[in-house]
């Protein structure tokens, strides 16, 4: 009896998942723009040495203040 009940619950859960997935796909077809995600946050700027910020060659500071996306190492997609 217990096994039968467990099997029934598993079947109901599986059916629910299938119905949910189908409903999700239908919703997506109605408005696929809902699935669009914005681009990723910028990556981490790297370590800075003891003299990095007193010298002229501090790569993370240069990247943080750069005006172009490539110099700032912004995400590509």
């Amino acid at each position: 009896m217990r096994i039968l009940r467990r099997s029934a619950i598993a079947v109901v859960l599986a059916l629910g998942a299938c119905i949910g997935a189908a409903a999700g796909a239908e919703m997506l077809l109605d408005d696929p723009a809902a699935s669009l995600v914005d681009s990723a946050p910028a990556g981490w700027l790297g370590p800075i040495t003891e003299s990095g910020r007193t010298g002229w060659n501090c790569a993370p500071e240069h990247a943080a203040t750069a005006r172009t996306a490539s110099a700032a190492a912004l995400p590509h997609d």
Binding site: D31, P41, A42, W44, L45, C58, E61, A69
Partner: protein, 270 residues
């Protein structure tokens, strides 16, 4: 007799050649010996030396991805309390180690401390925005991004970070303004056009969104997410055949398997 003179002359010439080489060699200046016996001065010199060594070891550990070892060095450095800009730099470096160890709250606190010590520390400001975004704390991310833009208004990282925060928070006016400024500064950045398109889509301006997506795809034809977004705009506009072409191209260009599966599903349903 003549033979001995010849040997002596050859020896003198060989010696001269050897010493000429030696005199051309340069040596680094020796480290200055401590000219004090004062205990406080000697302790200060020892502390400076330790600061130098800990920075070297900590940065070396970070460069080889040994974040635990790096954290140990920078924690000790903070106890040593070096003057600026080393104090804020040590906190920045420790925050970087904490980020990679998965301690985002600790990293945020350290970056705040670094910025309290040096309010124009741009790299700390940039990483703080990214930390808050990953913590999904949009309020803190917005405050950090506003502060960053205030002192670096032309920084691509500052504008991009605040644009993403505003877009996620639904502040479309601020997001539009920041992505527009980023595009004005760097028109070749396709991702800014894509994010601006999302702003326009969510604000219900599909025509403006389509224009931005076309710009993004002109700059980067294999940009799969922009191609997918264009397909959705076309679909919303009732252009099912064009949308199908866009989803088909997206399915071929996408490196992300989830995006590829979604594009195939939508293409096949049209």
């Amino acid at each position: 007799m003549l033979n001995r003179v010849a040997i002596a002359a050859a020896s003198v010439l060989a010696f001269a050649a050897a010493t000429a080489g030696a005199s051309a060699q340069t040596y680094t200046a020796p480290t200055a010996a401590p000219r004090t016996t004062d205990a406080a001065a000697l302790a200060a010199q020892a502390r400076q030396r330790e600061v130098h060594e800990r920075f070297d070891r900590g940065v070396g550990a970070e460069e080889r991805g040994d974040w635990s070892a790096a954290a140990t060095e920078f924690r000790r450095l903070i106890v040593l309390d070096p003057p600026e800009p080393k104090g804020s730099t040590a906190r920045y470096d420790l925050a970087l180690a904490e980020i990679h160890l998965g301690h985002l709250d600790a990293a945020a606190a350290l970056l705040e401390e670094a910025l309290h010590r040096d309010p124009r520390f741009a790299a700390a400001a940039a990483n703080l925005v990214a930390v808050h975004l990953r913590r999904n704390d949009l309020g803190a991310a917005r405050a950090a991004a506003d502060r960053f833009v205030a002192f670096a208004p032309e920084s691509a990282l500052a504008l991009y970070g605040r644009g993403i925060v505003a877009l996620r928070a639904g502040d479309f006016a601020a997001a539009r303004s920041d992505f527009r400024k980023l595009i004005d500064t760097d028109p070749s950045y396709a991702v800014a056009h894509y994010d601006l398109a999302l702003v326009e889509l969510r604000a219900g301006r599909d025509d403006a969104a389509r224009t931005e997506l076309e710009h993004a795809l002109a700059l980067s034809p294999a940009y799969a997410r922009a191609r997918f977004a264009l397909g959705t705009v076309l679909m919303r506009g009732g252009k099912r055949a064009d949308a199908r072409v866009a989803f088909d191209r997206c399915a071929r260009d996408a490196a992300d398997p989830a995006l590829r599966a979604l594009a195939i599903d939508l293409r096949d349903r049209l």
